[in-house]
Symmetry: C2
Subunit: 490 residues, 2 copies
């Protein structure tokens, strides 16, 4: 048994019962007392349905107002939530249901049919699938947890798996608690804080905001769809102080903002989900918007490195430093050189479901990066995506960042292709804005200006869209397949 | 082995090397990089002097700029600091040196002579006593701790012992870390925070600010003497946002402030060290000063209950609620009734040196209190100080609070004396302002207005000063001795 703490929602019900906990952009709001009461009623309903401590319960839900209630209800019982990505196919979901030994599946209206289809492909029957909107509630639930044990598992989230089969990352209550506290020690906790949550809660970055909500006793604004206009309205008129975004969201918010500006009470944007193109960061800088670029993954229970508010402008492009009390190392004997990023800390998951626990204290992230002289992290690319060309290391993300800086290029993906002379050479795949044609020779010339010769892509392909996984990450191995299909027998 | 985290000063040296860590009111300041460097040099000196991991090293020092350096140096080695109260006599110090198995004693100039005298009364020799101002420093200390284990002991502080022999409370690194984080989850951490430390660091309330300093990466202003004028200057002109005080300090600061007011950037006063008289709290209220009344003791590594900023005015007189993640119970089956205060949480010490570890999860505080309907704690008095008169419970602190509200009464102490009719009755001991005489009958009449008849003191004594221990707490058993001496043979 590890450290125990009072159930965080019981605590907020004691400390801040009448304070707003959740404002739902789709309409409705809950105080902390209401959030507790409703979560407990759902927990009572779960007990009635035979859900027990330790059971694995899958959630196939988008960001509804009821979503946090289910998440907290699980903690009142001590069941483990398996958070499913709603964009997966029934077949993909079935794999995770089987692999995670799921006992029951709860789906919202929109995903119920797919949930049933997925369950049918496993040993789960229709009786094990529940509609979230018709889930029973019980007036007076008893025997609910009043405390949480840091060493108990709370959630399982599958890694997005750009390569190989997805694995379920296990997060304990302690992982989530330390993640929230580590973020607080970096960003602070101000009395007026209100965090906007528009990332899916089935990703750990979105889930972590639900944790900050109940661990800080801080109100959040919950969005189910990304609507740049409505989100900017919330920042400008409803006192939102921080928002978590990924690159494409930042792009759209800035586009919608146009020549407008955010109020001084807005503290900034926590940017995750991979390195952002520098031109975009400079655009934010010019609009005086603090972007706290961060680095993290499912295994680290959200961000583990973040650029601090004081450095947001001075260190553009860096993912900052390891949050306190986390640690960061680069697997590289020479300082300043690129190597694999290693991380450690009480927010780092101890391992994957059904796999051996990690033996090393440090987690090998599979990401490449380097630290500058002041110790700031720059994330370069995935280890597996690195291209070796004539003995030189090439990082696709660097080339992609240059390509997306070109007027008319909407998205870019780069991967390595076999080459008789150099071993590998980079190939570029572009999505053009409004499908406007572009002069490839001009693009090449631009690349030659910005990049060392060996980094300039040898071939260019125009695609309608880039292959992405359910977490919106570019699947570079699919780019390679595209290339190979186009060159079969060539 | 427990949870380990990076050494907090190493972490701040990484995150905020050039940020001011400590401003010393006596002159001088240190950045986090300097605080680290100097602490490591001292740690190197300690190693040279044969100080090893696990050794008990006594510190007999006031709030010098070098004091935090010694405290951090101990953590770099893994030695345990025994923090001695400088107001103790050589005999009292000798008891603690023996009891705590101290191996070396480090004293500042002012207390060196007393330290040597105390050491002479124990098995320690003059060779085991060091002057803090001439302690060796080493340019390149090696083999220093880079991480801290939550379960390792860091400090020992003797309880003030208003009754019986003092006992050494053991604090682990985890106790101090969770205490700092719990306070942050209540008061928040704002970018401009600067905490003023004028409590002695050998008390846990003062020590805890040194921990916040390195755990938050927040600057502090360190005072060695309580000078109301200079402290008010710091609040008004040097951006101090929070100050920790005890009642008498609050009184003096308000007196010095007069009709002036604090800037808006000043967040408030964290008030500890026992219940404060209500008139004083209302005086602060009228001056628009937020007072966060708190409740805590050496065993809880500083405050464990605190009135939150949002309730500072609405719940005057209350010590608030248990900080997250701590818990509070009243040992009383009927809600709202007075009972012993019980507390629990990761900031609560597991026990005293050489005594059995606590068996119950909850610590019995020996203090009496009650919770109002909204769950706010009101501390009433010490269990041992309660007077039982004709079957009624009387709490000396309540009567003292009424007495100090009388114009001309500077201090008041109340204790129970034997009475043939009622078993016990209250007796009052007053210190008058400027020794101006007062009409006792008028005081009695005032008490009869404010208190139930059985609470009105039967006898009144005027004293030059009240007997207090080294922590400035009234020794009520000494009041009783005063009474008994005056009535010998009567």
């Amino acid at each position: 048994m590890g450290q125990t703490i009072p159930h965080w929602l019981e605590k907020q019900n004691d400390l801040n019962p009448d304070k707003t906990a959740i404002e739902f952009a789709g309409g409705g709001r809950l105080t902390f007392a209401e959030l507790r009461e409703e979560s407990r009623r759902l927990a009572g309903g779960m007990l009635l349905q035979g859900i027990q401590r330790g059971d694995h319960i899958a959630l196939l839900v988008s960001n509804q107002l009821s979503t946090p209630l289910f998440i907290h209800a699980l903690s009142y019982i001590g069941a483990v939530g398996v958070l499913l990505n709603t964009r997966l196919t029934a077949e993909e979901l079935a794999y995770q249901l089987d692999d995670a030994d799921v006992k029951k599946l709860i789906a919202d209206k929109e995903h119920l049919e797919k949930g049933i289809k997925a369950a049918d492909l496993t040993s789960l029957g229709a009786d094990d699938v529940y509609s979230s909107s018709r889930f029973p509630k019980v007036e007076e639930a008893s025997d609910l947890n009043t405390s949480l044990d840091f060493s108990d598992p709370y959630t399982m989230i599958y890694t997005s798996g750009t390569t190989g089969q997805p694995k379920a990352v296990i997060h304990t209550y302690g992982n989530h608690w330390f993640s929230a506290v580590a973020s607080a020690l970096n960003l602070g906790i101000e009395a007026k804080d209100k965090w906007l949550l528009c990332l899916p809660v089935f990703h750990v970055g979105g889930f972590s905001i639900l944790m900050k909500n109940v661990i800080y006793g801080m109100p959040i604004v919950l969005f189910n769809n990304f609507d740049a206009g409505k989100i900017n309205d919330q920042i400008m008129e409803n006192g939102v102080t921080i928002i978590s975004v990924v690159t494409v969201m930042l792009q759209r918010l800035l586009k919608d903002l146009g020549r407008g500006s955010y109020p001084e009470s807005f503290r900034g944007m926590l940017l995750g989900g991979g390195p952002a193109p520098e031109p975009l960061l400079y655009e934010a800088y010019e609009k005086n918007i603090s972007v706290f670029q961060s680095y993290g993954m499912t295994e680290t229970s959200s961000q583990i490195c973040t650029l601090s508010p004081g450095e947001a402008f001075r260190k553009i492009g860096s993912a900052g430093k390891a949050l306190s009390p986390a640690e960061l190392k680069i697997d590289q004997s020479e300082p300043g050189r690129i190597g694999e990023i290693l991380v450690k800390g009480p927010m780092v998951s101890e391992g994957y479901y059904k796999k051996q626990k990690r033996e090393n204290e440090f987690l090998k992230t599979g990401d490449l990066g380097y630290m500058d002289k002041e110790g700031f992290l720059y994330v370069v690319d995935r280890v597996k995506d690195m291209i070796i060309s004539g003995g030189e290391n090439i990082y696709p993300a660097e080339i992609e960042s240059v390509l997306t800086g070109i007027e008319g290029v909407q998205e870019a993906g780069v991967t390595g292709i076999k080459d008789d002379e150099w071993g590998e050479v980079p190939a570029a795949f572009l999505v053009l804005e409004n499908n406007m044609p572009l002069d490839i020779e001009k693009i090449k010339a631009y690349c030659r200006e910005k990049l060392a010769g060996y980094k300039v892509p040898h071939v260019f392909y125009i695609l309608e869209e880039l292959p992405r996984n359910a977490s919106n990450k570019i699947l570079r191995r699919k780019l390679l397949e595209t290339y190979e299909r186009n060159n079969e027998g060539a």
